[in-house]
Amino acid sequence: MNSWHRKRPILAFFCNWAPYRCYLELGQSGMVLPYSICPIKVMCAGRLDTAIVLSAFEKGAEGVVIIGCKEKECRYGPGPGQAKKISETIRGLMHILGLEPERFSMVAFSYNEKNRLFKEMKSFAKTLSKLGKSPFALD
């Protein structure tokens, strides 16, 4: 499992606000996320679109997860709704490209849910390890 983690990166897009804080608190308290999770910070989950997610898969990511705020908690307003809309398009495209739709996930967290975040990330990593290598993997 260990070497799998090092060579099979999972890109996790955190929105700058509640999810990132959740992630930092998780790290501060010593909980160790699977090494394969690579954090990328965006201002709002609403910014993410098909181009970014698909380019991640194209470059060899095993999985992509978007961690945004909850629907009513977005401080800008439209973020989570926007992200939800785009995720449907993304799943559709993934199906056409031959990627298993389980490789993409979108979840919503508040700032005080680090335990749930930990469980969620671990189970996502496990799901991906069961799916095996991505069809676009570089090796």
Binding site: L24, I40, K41, A56, E73, P78
Partner: protein
């Protein structure tokens, strides 16, 4: 009177926080005075959303450079002054300075105290994010100690097994720990609160344990090499406890002390009075060596017996003389036969024994007396020198002044006590003692010493046989030199002031010679006081060092817990009687290490923080000082807002003092915000923006990249085993990196400036700081701690660096803490994060923005109580305010409003609102007839019927028909909720829709940015006035934001690619993206930088990719993704 400090807000309540924020956004300087040690968290009853928002506001308040939070501050008095108010502010001692604390937790780890409930005296606060200390009044054990030792401190350290540190702490106050640990009468144990549960802590024995452990490890207790001391020379006459302590203190203060001792061995009564089975020679020698190693001279066999000897010393160059000659002249009983052979004074007898002048076999020994000296003598002779030992005392065992433990051991060893007996005559055979005639006593009333007076029983005389008698009824002071010069009292006691000064300048006295026979530790205390007097007289500048004054205002102890299990004292090992009376080896043994820990763990830690000063030593940021005291300041403010009534008397009423409208004790979050803004609004009038320099961002220049990478080790805690050092080499290899360094701290106000130093020295044009700070944008979020905010403020707001040139990434919580056990993994991840952060520096594009509009005109719709209050509030800050209403106002109201300079358009029917925040247009129709409110309601024009509203207006007519007039405004405030139904058209291409209600709770903004509704449901119980003011405050907050800073995260539409589809305008939550009409009559999108918050949703929506936002472009994402996947 000090200079103006802006506006004072009393109380860090949610109301106060919001008021502070509003005022700060409008450019005013604000100070928040909070009574507690931290700003309270949200009350428990609030919803999660409210709590989250509270956190967010708190982060913003902590971050803002114009807001200062003063915790632990109480208002002591308010009075009016010229153009403002003068306030007396008292701040309790802040042992940890928040502005220097970096939250590295080293102090927390070093604290040895573990409280019964699992907490520690040093703990982390939420707001400000710093550490704080809970310190109560002086522990009872410490108060009881004459030399102010800190038993709570060293017992806590022993309980953690930290013996070396315990020893250092003991040595701070006590240079003779091994001695005291054996012979001190431990007043501390008598005050120990543990006795309320079971038994007091064995403090004395624990101290002895520490001293012995250290003595084992080191040869003697000397502290390294002898340091040459150059200060004034002081002569200390006598090397007993008083003299030794004084010499120790003098040497530590930089003086050159010389101890002048009459005997051949130092120690005074420690060596000559106390027996080796209580106090071994080795211990005394070791501890005296430790004192001498400080640079103290010792002259033995040099008696000072006359005043000429003292004069000679002065002539030798000694600046002061401290007499510590003790009290060891035995008193006589003055009864018949005292001159017979075989009768000795106690001290001289013991001295003879310990100097080797052994006496002949003593036969039957009778010791007269009941003090420690008597018991000492008895126990000394029973060890194989005497046939039998009888101890005669005139009162009972209960009244014996000797240490009860000593008496117990003496009795165990076979000494026979004879209570209520006194000798009346010594009878002898020839000139040798043979018998003693004694008389029985009985106890009568109390005498001067508080004990029952013994009186002889007539006719009860009897004889006892004795070969040796040792008289131990007390000692006189040794002060033969003082006759005729010093003031002497009965018994040779030298009269001194409390600090040891005699009547002769330069001559001091301490110890038994001023108090009479006393205890070891009392003598030490006396020596210490005299030493201090000498120090201050010759080096008065040392008076600045505070003398550990505890503040009486400290909180009391917690009550002794009732629920902890009883745990008797660990037994102190004693040698068996049959063995020990055969020799002079030590009777009492030390604790074993395990037993010591167990015994020390019983301590209740009464004062919570024990002032062991481990945290002060551990903090490398110099943030902790335990000797700080309260400060009292008198400050001048232009206005005061009271957000927390208990702090300021409700009776006080000044024109410049505003009280936040509170409804009961616990307001909801929404109410708090509204009330806070209203109070802020009031305070805005007659105050002026703080004179801050307009921030000019300086760019570090373009050209070939010369980037510096700084890795913050958070006071070294993140660089264990060189984790960060290992990253220096691989980082230096990256192209464009000119400098890589590991910092002690990035956020510390002084140590962090290394970053700026290096940027200047090496001429860097970019920097990446890898620490706990996760972003380099201007606003703060809930993740922001004070430390992160401090660094960002220092770099960007104060330093004026451009966020395009400096970026910050978080590697602390993302990899250094979770993966610290696997260096390879950790470094790999950290490198990837740093590399992805570098891409933020490599995209430099210059934009130009339109000039900011000055706030010129505001529109208020509806002359309700709220509307009028809003209009008046806005008038102070906007050049003009237009109040539109379709109801007629009374003449009085009209006159009042005109007096305020508010333009009144009434009666007029508002028809539609066009435009965006900053450029609204209100279209209205002046109605000729003056309809009253009743008429209006009857005519149906004010119905909630939306369709009727729309149908009745022909929009094309607006531009042509002269009936319809327009008025411009930057912001609009609705005074009446019905106006929500007015149609709204955001731009030339949009369809009409309605304004909707409030956007979110706690804000009076409607769904349209820039339009505020100053009305609320009745259930919230807020007055119309407050609502109006609050709406005005909120509007101002929005318009005042950042007039002269350039924001970093602002979206920009590239006109090359924009096709005017309007999707960005539809989705923008702030109304920043808007469609405008080009000269050709087609739409193009433009983003108002003042309103853009950088969320990036428009970037995602745009079908052509025309919108550019820093760190949000597709190209940037691809590069960042690459860093993780390559």
């Amino acid at each position: 009177m000090t200079s103006n400090n802006g506006i004072l807000i009393v109380g860090g309540t949610p109301h106060g926080l919001q008021a502070a924020l509003t005022l700060a956004h409008c450019g005013r300087k604000v100070t928040i005075a909070e009574n507690n040690f931290e700003i309270a968290g949200p009350p428990k009853g609030w919803s999660e959303k409210s709590k989250r928002h509270h956190q967010y506001i708190l982060a913003q308040v902590s971050c803002h450079p114009l807001i200062e939070i003063s915790t632990e501050s109480r208002i002591m008095g308010i009075k009016e002054a010229i153009e403002g108010m003068e306030v007396q502010l008292t701040q309790r001692p802040r042992w940890i300075l928040p502005e220097l604390c970096v939250n590295c937790n080293k102090c927390l780890i070093s604290c040895p105290v573990e409280l019964p409930n699992g907490r520690k005296p040093i703990f982390e606060l939420r707001a400000p994010t710093t550490m704080a200390i809970d310190k109560r009044e002086k522990a009872p054990c410490r108060s009881a100690c004459p030399i102010d030792m800190n038993p709570q401190g060293y017992v806590a350290l022993i309980a953690q097994g930290r013996i070396d540190e315990a020893f250092e702490l003991i040595l701070d106050e006590n240079p003779l720990p091994g001695i005291c640990g054996r012979v001190c009468h431990h007043p501390c144990e008598m005050e120990c609160r543990r006795k309320e549960i079971d038994e007091p802590i064995a403090i004395c024995a624990l101290k002895r344990f520490v001293a012995d452990e250290i003595l084992k490890k080191r040869k003697g207790l000397g502290i390294g090499n002898i340091t040459p001391v150059k200060g004034p020379r002081i002569a200390v006459i006598g090397s007993g406890p008083a003299g030794l302590t004084a010499a120790n203190d003098l040497a530590r203060a930089g003086f050159r002390a010389t101890i002048i001792e009459s005997e051949g061995r130092p120690g005074g009564l420690l060596s000559y009075g106390i027996a080796p089975y209580r106090l071994p020679r080795q211990t005394i020698e070791g501890e005296i060596e430790g004192i001498l190693a400080l640079g103290v001279d010792l002259r033995l066999n040099s008696a000072v017996v006359s005043w000429e000897d003292i004069e000679k010393l002065k002539a030798e160059g000694f600046r002061a003389v401290l007499l510590a000659t003790g009290a060891s002249k035995d008193l006589n009983m003055n009864i018949k036969g005292e001159g017979l052979e075989g009768i000795y004074g106690c001290v001289s007898f013991l001295k003879g024994m310990w100097t080797g002048k052994t006496h002949a076999p003593l036969g039957r020994v009778v010791v007269i007396g009941g003090g420690n000296a008597a018991v000492e003598a008895s126990r000394a002779v029973i060890r194989s020198v005497a046939q039998s030992v009888t101890l005669i005392y005139r009162r009972t065992r209960m009244e014996m002044p000797a240490d009860p433990h000593e008496v117990e051991q003496a009795l165990e060893e076979g000494i026979k006590p004879m209570y209520l007996t006194t000798p009346v005559e010594f009878e002898g055979n020839g000139n040798r003692l043979a018998r003693i005639k004694c008389i029985k006593m009985k106890l009568d009333d109390m005498d001067a010493s508080g004990r029952l007076r013994p009186i002889p029983i007539d006719g009860s005389e009897f004889l006892i046989n004795a070969d040796t008698a040792i008289i131990s009824i007390g000692q006189d002071a040794n002060s033969p030199y003082g006759r005729g010069h010093l003031r002497l009292k009965r018994g040779g006691i030298i009269e001194v002031a409390r600090n040891g000064e005699t009547n002769i300048p330069g001559v001091y006295a301490s110890g038994d010679v001023v108090s009479g026979p006393s205890t070891v530790v009392e003598a030490m205390a006396s020596g210490r006081r005299a030493a201090r007097a000498i120090i201050l007289s010759l080096k008065p500048e040392l008076r600045q060092i505070p003398d550990h004054e505890f503040e009486s205002a400290r909180e009391k102890y917690d009550p002794v817990p009732k629920d902890i299990p009883k745990q008797k004292r660990r037994p102190i090992p004693h040698r068996r009687v049959s063995k020990r009376i055969k020799d002079y080896k030590e009777v009492i043994g030390p604790f074993s290490a395990k037993e010591a820990v167990k015994e020390a763990s019983r301590c209740l830690q009464c004062s919570i923080c024990s002032e062991c000063l481990r945290c002060e030593t551990a903090c490398d940021m110099e943030a902790i000082r335990h000797d700080r005291v309260s400060t009292r300041r008198s400050l001048h403010f232009s206005r005061i807002i009271v957000a927390d009534s208990p702090q300021v008397d409700l009776e006080l009423d000044f024109p410049l003092l505003t009280r936040v409208e509170r409804h009961g004790k616990r307001d909801s979050w929404a109410r708090a915000l509204v009330a806070g803004r209203a109070a802020a609004m009031e305070a805005l009038s007659k105050t002026y923006p703080a004179k801050t320099q307009p921030l000019s961002r300086r760019s570090l220049g373009n050209g070939d990249q010369k980037i510096g990478i700084f890795l913050c080790s958070c006071s070294g805690t993140l660089n264990e085993n060189g984790l960060l050092d290992k990253m220096i080499a691989p980082l230096t290899k990256i192209q464009g990196i000119a400098h890589v360094e590991v910092l002690m701290s990035a956020c510390h106000p002084e140590k962090g400036r290394r970053i700026e130093e290096v940027i200047n020295e090496k001429g860097l044009n970019g920097a990446l700081i890898a620490s706990c700070v996760c972003c380099h944008i201007d606003f703060s979020c809930e993740s922001c701690t004070d430390q992160r905010i401090r660094l960002k403020n220092r770099l960007f707001r104060e330093g004026g660096y451009d966020p395009k040139d400096i970026t910050l990434v978080n590697i602390k919580e993302t990899c250094l803490i979770p993966y610290k056990n696997d260096h390879k993994k950790c470094i790999d991840k950290a490198m990837r994060i740093i590399r992805s952060g570098l891409w933020q520096l490599r995209e430099h594009k210059e934009w130009t923005f339109k000039n900011e509009q000055a706030h010129t005109q505001a529109i208020v719709l509806g002359a309700t109580e709220a509307g009028i209050a809003a209009a008046k509030g806005l008038k102070g800050q906007f050049s003009s305010v237009v109040l539109v209403d379709d109801l007629s106002l009374t003449k009085k109201d009209e006159k009042d409003l005109r007096g305020w300079g508010i333009d009144l358009v009434s009666p007029a029917r508002p028809l539609r609102i066009d435009g965006q925040s900053g450029s609204f247009t209100l279209i209205f129709e002046k109605t000729g007839s003056l309809l009253s409110k009743e008429d209006k309601e009857n005519s149906g024009l004010f119905t909630q019927n939306k369709t009727r509203w729309r149908k009745s207006i022909d929009t094309k007519a607006f531009d042509e028909d002269p009936r319809y007039q327009k008025v411009q405004g930057d912001i609009i405030i609705l005074g009446r909720s019905e106006f929500r139904n007015i149609p709204y058209k955001s731009d030339a291409f949009a369809r009409e829709h309605h304004l909707w209600g409030h956007k979110a709770f706690g804000t009076l903004e409607t769904g349209i940015p820039g339009v505020y509704m100053a009305s609320w449901s009745q259930a919230m119980k807020i007055s119309g006035q407050t609502l109006g003011k609050s709406a005005a405050g909120e509007a101002l907050e929005g318009t005042f934001q950042k007039p002269d800073e350039s924001k970093y995260l602002v979206a920009h539409v590239d006109p090359e690619f924009c096709r005017g589809c309007g999707r960005c305008a539809d989705v923008c939550p702030e109304g920043a993206a808007r469609l405008e009409e080009s000269a050709r009559g087609v739409a193009f999108s433009w983003i108002e930088p003042r309103l853009c918050t950088g969320c990036g949703v428009c970037v995602a929506e745009c079908p052509t990719g025309a919108i550019i936002l820093p760190e949000s472009e597709q190209g940037y994402f691809e590069k960042v993704i690459n860093e993780f996947l390559a």
